[in-house]
Structures are given as structure tokens and as C-alpha cells.
């Protein structure tokens, strides 16, 4: 059997050492770059910064709740205000600045064009613009939110506004009557939304225009299918959010009376508008995650993905059905029982394509040759957390039980399992999976696995007990609680410390790998998607010669070669 290194044999050694990271130097070359890979890295820095901020506040929130009564600040009224500003900041930053953009903007940006064998996305300038929208919108948003926290904690006014204390959902009429700075905050979210729309447009155009020879729609890697579904939702749903937020601003500044009952408006209308975006947005968060898991599970089982077309189609089904279920957030609002019943029924239909995916991933593992490397550990963690999150969703879709657990910690636990457990775990799986490609360095495998374990244990410790607290009637968004809930909150808080420790280990591992990591081979894991067929890190143009795509899961075409600690293609 003859073995040849395939990827870019025609590159000279000198050309090989030149890559997108060192092609040009200096801060300026980064800030005006049109290279999708560099833009991906810019996003990485910004989004990880937002995640850090949201994470610090998560730990602060949990610390405030470690005992009943005011904890961090002694004066009760100020302590409650402080908590309300903090949970708004945490929820809003995590949602709008971390989970929605993390996978598409960082990993999607980096990987999508390479998977397509293309030089770049379809509209590189638009891509840079969308990064700057994210950056400016984000800085503005964080500034408003942070200054509110500081003001309520220390009484120091940073500017005239007063932060945001509405929660990330901005429900009227609270948001139209609170004295906090709703208008500037909404403006920040609005700009962030535009960034999201532009990225979606760019991805869809890229997938339509840039697919290489040999890549039919049904030979597209599943990560790309997932990004396709995501982008479609981003384009269709985000404008609804933008309009809703503008209406909110109009209501607040001009008192137009869309939501204000005193002027003939309807406060629940806002909830309809809001969830018409935000429910599909949940799938913006989860679909790309599922895409990553499909890649990782297949590659680390060394086996063709099971039920490719079922998975691809279920992504599209989820994207479509996701638009029809927004009303399940309003079962207790007093909307008509008929509407409740219809929304409940539709909600259950979305659970089916999700279940299909879980079975497909398990079936992919069946008969495989499973390697429990770091990305695979996160992927298995994902399957567990997503299953728990999805199954507990059944309690929320079912009318009788939702009435009881709605707006309690049961919901907090549920959405952390689906949104955070799944998105964060898939994000970490993807980051570890593509890290060698992105930076050309290997991280410490041992530390990577240990961290994955600690994060998993910490996560379950934090959120599992919240199901029990919620079922017992602990409402959410509470700065204070009855003594009988103390035990749940304490366990949860300790869990959050464990998880935070795990995430610090992840960060240390990454930073360490940049400094001391051994150089990565072209294809450390043996994937057959195109990004593994160029150098690590790739050159600025991605490929020396436009590659040809075949079945992205034909993993048997790659053999492990111990001398380069990576995989090489088996010549046919």
C-alpha cells in the first residue's frame, strides 16, 4: 500500500512556513484584514471577552444567591437592584454576544470557506463590516449594562443613564416604565442584530456560489448544512427583533401606545413579537452546535456519519418548525386556550427532529473505532446535556405541567441545559477540534480531557438541582428566596465554582499551547472535509490548488502515520 502526503505537495518549504497568521504583521494589518480566518480570530477575541464578562457575572449571581437575604451588599433594596442589573447583564451578554454569534462567527467564519475549498467568503468586505458592527454594538451594549451594575452597587454614576434592569427579554410595560437606560441598551442590541444578519447573508451566498467541484448539496459537510439552516433563521427572524426593538423605543420615547394599555395597546403583543424572534433564535444557537457534533462524532468514531440525509433534513425541519412555536412562552399570559393548545402541539413536533439527531449520533458510534480525545469528550457531554435539556422540554411543552414550572428555576435549568450545555459544549468541542488547524499548534491532550471532565461535573452540579428547586416552586429572577430553597442554591453555587475552575483550565491550556504547543500536522484527527487537506495553519489563500470534494465522511481514505502524529491519505 502506498502512502502519500496529499494536501499541498506542490508548496515549497518556504511557502509552507508562510501562513495567514504571519503573512503580514502589525495591528493595522489585522484591523483592516479581509481574510475570513483573521476575521474569525478577531471575533474569537471579542466573543471570548464577552463570555468572560458574562461568566464573571454568572459567578457573582450565584454568589449572591449562596444564602437567602442580601449577601454581597448589605442594604436590601440596593442589593436587589444590584442583582437585577447583574442578571440582566449576564443574560443579555451571554445571549446576544456569546451564544448567538459564537459558533457561526468564530468557527463558521474560519472553517466555512475552507470546507468549501474557497479562498474566502462570498463578500469579504461585508464580513469585516459585520465584525465591526459586532464590536461597536457590543462595546456600547456592555458599557450601558456595566455602568448600571456599577451604579446600583456603589452608587457611582458613570453617565446619566442608569443601566438596564429589564432582563434580556425587555418585557413591556416594565421596560417602558423603568428608569433604567432601555433606549441605549436597545440600540446596542439592534446593532448586534445587524451583525448577525450580515453574517447569515454572507454564509448563504457563499454556500450557493462557492461550492467546489464534486460538492453537491448532499455532499456538503453537515456543519455547513447546520450553518445554512442557521443563516436562514438569522436572515428571516432577526429583522423581527430589530423592528420590535424599534417599536419599544418608539413606545418609550414617543408614547405611541402599541404596548401601553392606557393608550389602547397590548402589553402581551410585545411578547409575541419578541418570541417570534427569540424562539427561532434558540435554534440559531443550537443548530450550528449540532453541526459540529456531527463532524466530531463521525471523525472520532472513525466511521461514516449515520443517516446523513436525515440529519441534514432535520436541520432544515428544525429551522422551519422553530418559527411556529413562539407562543409556548406565553401559556400563562392569558392568551386563548385554543392558541395554547396549538402552540403546545407544534412545540412537540420540533422535538422529533432533535431526537432523530441524538439517535443518529449514537448510531454513528456503533461499530466505530472510538477515540476519546478532547473534542469527542465534549461531544459526548453535549449529547448527554442536550438530551437532558430536550427531555425536560417535554415538561414545558405539555400544558398542564408548564403552568406549574413556567418562570421557575426549572426553566432556568432547562434553557441552560439546551442553550448553554449544548452550545458551550459544542463550541468547546469545535474549538479543540479545529484549534490545531487555526493556530498550527497542538494543545495538551491530558489537560484538555481533564478540563472537559471538570466542566461537565460542574455544569451538572450547577443546573441539575435547579430542576428540583423549580419544581418545588422557586421562581426565577429572584434576588432573594425562602429558607427552604437554600440547599438547592448552595449546591448550585458550588457547582458554578467547579465549572468556572474547569473553564480556567481550558483557557490555560489554550494559552499554553500558543506558547509551547508542538506544531500541528495537517490532519491530526483524520477528517475528510477539505479543511484537513491544507496546511496547519492554512496559507492566506487557503489552498495552493482548488481541491475537489468527495464524500466528507469517507474516513477510510485516511490512515494514521505515527511519524508525523497525524493522518495521511491512502493513495487509491
Amino acid at each position: 500500500m502506498t502512502i502519500a502526503t496529499t494536501a499541498s505537495p506542490e508548496l515549497e518549504p518556504a511557502a509552507r512556513s508562510r501562513n495567514y497568521l504571519n503573512q503580514t504583521r502589525g495591528l493595522r494589518s489585522w484591523l483592516i484584514t479581509l481574510d475570513h480566518k483573521r476575521i474569525g480570530i478577531l471575533y474569537m477575541v471579542a466573543i471570548l471577552g464577552a463570555f468572560f464578562l458574562g461568566g464573571v457575572f454568572a459567578v457573582l449571581l450565584r454568589t449572591e444567591l449562596i444564602s437567602p437575604g442580601p449577601t454581597l451588599i448589605k442594604d436590601p433594596v440596593r442589593a436587589w437592584d444590584f442583582y437585577n442589573h447583574m442578571f440582566t447583564l449576564h443574560g443579555a451578554v451571554m445571549t446576544f454576544m456569546f451564544i448567538i454569534p459564537a459558533i457561526p462567527a468564530i468557527l463558521g467564519n474560519f472553517v466555512l470557506p475552507i470546507m468549501l475549498g474557497a479562498k474566502d467568503v462570498a463578500f469579504p468586505r461585508l464580513n469585516l463590516l459585520s465584525f465591526y458592527l459586532y464590536a461597536f454594538g457590543g462595546v456600547f451594549f456592555v458599557w450601558v449594562l456595566l455602568s448600571g451594575v456599577i451604579e446600583s452597587a456603589f452608587g457611582i454614576k458613570l453617565y446619566g443613564g442608569g443601566g438596564l434592569d429589564t432582563g434580556w427579554t425587555f418585557y413591556t410595560p416594565y421596560s417602558t416604565s423603568t428608569s433604567s437606560a432601555v433606549v441605549p441598551a436597545v440600540l446596542g442590541a439592534f446593532i448586534l442584530g445587524f451583525s448577525s444578519i450580515l453574517t447569515g447573508l454572507n454564509f448563504i451566498a457563499s454556500m450557493h456560489m462557492l461550492r467546489p467541484k464534486g460538492m453537491t448539496w448532499f455532499r456538503m459537510p453537515l456543519f455547513l448544512w447546520a450553518l445554512y439552516g442557521t443563516s436562514a433563521i438569522q436572515i428571516l427572524a432577526t429583522p423581527v427583533l430589530a423592528i420590535t426593538l424599534l417599536l419599544l423605543v418608539a413606545e418609550r420615547t414617543l408614547g405611541v401606545g402599541i404596548f401601553d394599555p392606557a393608550l389602547g395597546g397590548d402589553p402581551v403583543l410585545f411578547q409575541h413579537f419578541f418570541w417570534f424572534y427569540s424562539h427561532p433564535a434558540v435554534y440559531i444557537m443550537i443548530l450550528p452546535a449540532m453541526g459540529i457534533i456531527s463532524e466530531v462524532v463521525s471523525v472520532f468514531s472513525r466511521k461514516h456519519i449515520f443517516g446523513y440525509s436525515f440529519i441534514a433534513m432535520s436541520s432544515i425541519a428544525i429551522a422551519l418548525l422553530g418559527f411556529l412555536v413562539w407562543g409556548h412562552h406565553m401559556f400563562t399570559s392569558g392568551q386563548s386556550p385554543v392558541a395554547n393548545a396549538i402552540f403546545s402541539l407544534l412545540t412537540f413536533t420540533v422535538s422529533i427532529p432533535s431526537a432523530i439527531k441524538v439517535f443518529n449520533w449514537l448510531a454513528t458510534m456503533h461499530g466505530g473505532s472510538i477515540q476519546l480525545k478532547t473534542p469527542m469528550l465534549y461531544a459526548i457531554g453535549f449529547i448527554m446535556l442536550f438530551s437532558i435539556g430536550g427531555l425536560t422540554g417535554l415538561f414545558l411543552g405539555s400544558l398542564a405541567t408548564d403552568i406549574h414550572v413556567h418562570d421557575t428555576y426549572f426553566v432556568v435549568a432547562h434553557f441552560h441545559y439546551v442553550m448553554m450545555g449544548s452550545t458551550l459544549f459544542a463550541f468547546l468541542a469545535g474549538m479543540h477540534y479545529w484549534w490545531p488547524k487555526i493556530f498550527g499548534k497542538m494543545y495538551n491532550e491530558y489537560l484538555g480531557r481533564l478540563a472537559a471532565l471538570v466542566v461537565f461535573v460542574g455544569f451538572n452540579l450547577t443546573f441539575m438541582v435547579q430542576f428540583i428547586a423549580g419544581a418545588h416552586g422557586m421562581p426565577r429572577r429572584y434576588a432573594n428566596y425562602l429558607d427552604e430553597f437554600t440547599i438547592y442554591h448552595q449546591i448550585s453555587t458550588i457547582g458554578s465554582y467547579v465549572m468556572a475552575a474547569g473553564l480556567v483550565m481550558v483557557a490555560i491550556n489554550w494559552l499554553d499551547s500558543l506558547v509551547r504547543g508542538r506544531p500541528a500536522p495537517e490532519n491530526p484527527w483524520g477528517g475528510n472535509t477539505l479543511e484537513w487537506q491544507t496546511t496547519s495553519p492554512p496559507p492566506t489563500e487557503n489552498f495552493a490548488r482548488t481541491p475537489t470534494a468527495d464524500d466528507p465522511y469517507a474516513l477510510h481514505k485516511w490512515r494514521y502515520d505515527a511519524s508525523i502524529e497525524g493522518y495521511v491519505k491512502v493513495a487509491e
Partner: protein, 349 residues
């Protein structure tokens, strides 16, 4: 003793309403489905990870689909969720089909408290109901959206400004239960707590009669003191001079207050009455216009009582001998929220 403490299970608090049992049944049905599915997923995952762990020389299978299998795992979950939908729907229908002859109580939610108004006009900050009698609550809100939640009854409904939402239930067990606000409503959302007290049906009428007249039967300053906590003043105004959402009542009577518009006003009977009826008209400097109006919600005798109470908090005013804290009747009809165990400034002993 709180009802919850005795018979709650690991997952759910004690059930004290007629349809709670049905909700619990659906809950445990779904729970069963979840456990079965989760065990299946975990067992398969662990089994595969072990059985198909990477071993040099062992070739992975190239199987990539199996349509009958995939159809099976699409159809079975569809049937299972169909059942879950159906059971949840039936349980919900019962919550929406009240029997006749309901006992109606009007509920007003406000930042941050509840006013339960009985057919005879009595307003209470806790919800008192007779056992075994279907009760309907008619919910409205004075400011933002709140949500009335009684875990022991498995029931929750939003109080939306500008509309009347209705909910009904039948309590089946005497005792005291929690009542929370479940929709985020600002600063003291987590303090918006009340109790549900389920009375023996024969004693309920007697309680109501007694409760309705309590203010008239007490010396005014003492009645005022209770009204201060019962009607939600305590949520925002302290009586010891410390800070709050509104001005403290300590030593204000007979003094002049600086208003937001720069003018001043003497705190006398007229001023206090006006502050209750038109709270927005004379706002003390340094405070927001957040107080709800009490127009139509307080009887004259109650307003007088409140004025007497505020007078009694002023050093210049000589309290009549009856205004002693301990003399309140022990019947907890109008027990202030201040006594729940949440902590916070309301809980000062």
C-alpha cells in the same frame, strides 16, 4: 406550619388543590418517559464507547444508514410525544373549565404586593379561602405584568395591566401555602410574597366578618400601623428613618418636606391624604414617581387611621396609650408579609 413541609416529595411540593393530582400525574408520566429515554441514551453511549473503543488493527464498520431503523426512531417518539401532548392538554382543559358557583375574589397586583378583595369589600394582603369550595381569582395589575403563582395548587397566571385574567382552583387541604410573583417586575420582585391560608369552610365566613371590620375596632393609630403593612406602604416606606423607595415616615408629621419641583409643603392631614389619593402630585425631592394611588382602595376610617399612625411616629406628637405594638389581635388575618422568612428589610424582628 407551612403545608409544604409535611408531605412534599423529592420533585414536587405538597399538593393541596383538586386538579393538582392530575398535573402531578402528567409530571410523573413525562418523568418516566425521560428516565427511560435517558437510561437508554446513557447505556447505549457507555456500551458503544466501551465496545467500540479504538483498538489498533480493528476496522470500523462502513455502515452509513438503515432506513427502517431510522423510520422506527422517528415514529416511536412521535407517538410518545402525541400522548404527552394529549395528557397535558386534558389537564389544562380542566384548569380552564371552572365549575359553577365559584367564590370570586378580585386580585390587584402592584409593585410589590397583592391586594385580595373579598365580596364584602375587605382587602387583605394574603389570600384566605375556604377549603373544598371552587374559587375564582380575577387578576388585574396596576403597573407592570406580575404573575400569581401558588406552587401547592400547581397554578399560575399573569396579572396583565389593562386586562382581566381569570384563574380558578379548589383547595383540598387546610393549611398555609406560598404565593409568589413569577413574572419579573423590578426591584422587589423577589419580595412580592404572600400566603394562601385555606380555612375550614365553616369558619371562613366568621373569619371574613371579623377581618372586614378590624380597622374600625382598633384605636386609630394601631389600626394605621397594621394598615401600613397590610396595604403595602411598608414595601417602600420605612418607619425608622432609614432609606427606602419612598421617604421614611419617621418624624415627618408637622415638618416641612422639600418637593422635587423646589417648593416645600407642610406634612399635615391634608398632605398625607393627598399623597394617598394623588401620589404623583407632590413628590418629595430625591424620589421617583412610583407610588400607586389608593383612591377608592381605602375607606375614610382607614385613611384617618393611617394619618394617626404617621402622627404617632413623630417625636412632637404624643402617642395615645393604646398604640402599643403587642396589643394587636393574634388572629393572623392581616398578618403582614413582613413575617415571612425571606429575609431582607421586611424581616426585621
Amino acid at each position: 406550619m407551612l403545608g409544604q413541609s409535611s408531605e412534599s416529595s423529592f420533585w414536587l411540593p405538597v399538593n393541596a388543590s383538586s386538579y393538582g393530582g392530575e398535573v402531578d400525574w402528567v409530571f410523573y408520566f413525562i418523568y418516566g418517559v425521560c428516565v427511560v429515554m435517558m437510561v437508554l441514551i446513557v447505556v447505549l453511549a457507555v456500551l458503544f464507547i466501551w465496545r467500540y473503543r479504538h483498538r489498533p488493527g480493528v476496522e470500523p464498520s462502513r455502515l452509513s444508514h438503515n432506513t427502517p431503523l431510522e423510520l422506527t426512531w422517528t415514529i416511536i417518539p412521535t407517538i410518545v410525544v402525541g400522548f404527552i401532548f394529549y395528557f397535558g392538554f386534558v389537564g389544562f382543559l380542566n384548569m380552564n373549565t371552572p365549575p359553577r358557583n365559584l367564590y370570586e375574589i378580585n386580585v390587584t397586583a402592584f409593585k410589590w404586593g397583592w391586594a385580595f378583595q373579598y365580596p364584602n369589600g375587605h382587602v387583605d394582603q394574603n389570600l384566605h379561602i375556604p377549603r373544598d369550595r371552587p374559587v375564582r381569582l380575577i387578576l388585574s395589575s396596576q403597573d407592570v405584568i406580575h404573575s400569581l403563582y401558588i406552587p401547592a395548587f400547581r397554578i399560575k397566571k399573569d396579572a396583565v395591566p389593562g386586562r382581566y385574567n381569570k384563574m380558578w382552583f379548589k383547595a383540598t387541604k387546610e393549611g398555609e401555602y406560598h404565593l409568589f410573583c413569577a413574572e419579573y417586575c423590578g426591584t422587589k420582585h423577589s419580595e412580592m410574597y404572600a400566603k394562601v391560608i385555606v380555612h375550614d369552610p365553616t369558619q371562613f365566613a366568621a373569619w371574613l366578618e371579623e377581618a372586614a371590620n378590624w380597622a374600625a375596632k382598633l384605636p386609630p393609630a394601631e389600626a394605621g400601623q397594621k394598615l401600613y403593612s397590610v396595604r403595602g406602604c411598608a414595601q417602600c416606606h420605612t418607619v425608622d428613618g432609614s432609606g427606602g423607595i419612598g421617604p421614611s415616615f419617621k418624624n415627618i408629621f408637622g415638618e416641612s418636606q422639600k418637593l422635587r419641583d423646589g417648593s416645600s409643603v407642610l406634612v399635615d392631614e391634608d398632605y398625607i391624604r393627598n399623597s394617598l389619593m394623588n401620589p404623583g402630585s407632590q413628590i418629595v425631592a430625591g424620589f421617583e414617581n412610583v407610588m400607586p394611588t389608593y383612591k377608592g382602595r381605602l375607606k375614610d376610617v382607614e385613611i384617618t387611621a393611617l394619618i394617626e399612625y404617621i402622627k404617632s411616629l413623630s417625636e412632637h406628637y404624643e402617642a395615645p396609650p393604646a398604640a402599643v405594638e403587642e396589643s394587636a389581635p393574634e388572629e393572623n388575618a392581616t398578618q403582614p408579609a413582613a413575617q415571612h422568612s425571606t429575609g431582607g428589610e421586611n424581616t426585621k424582628p
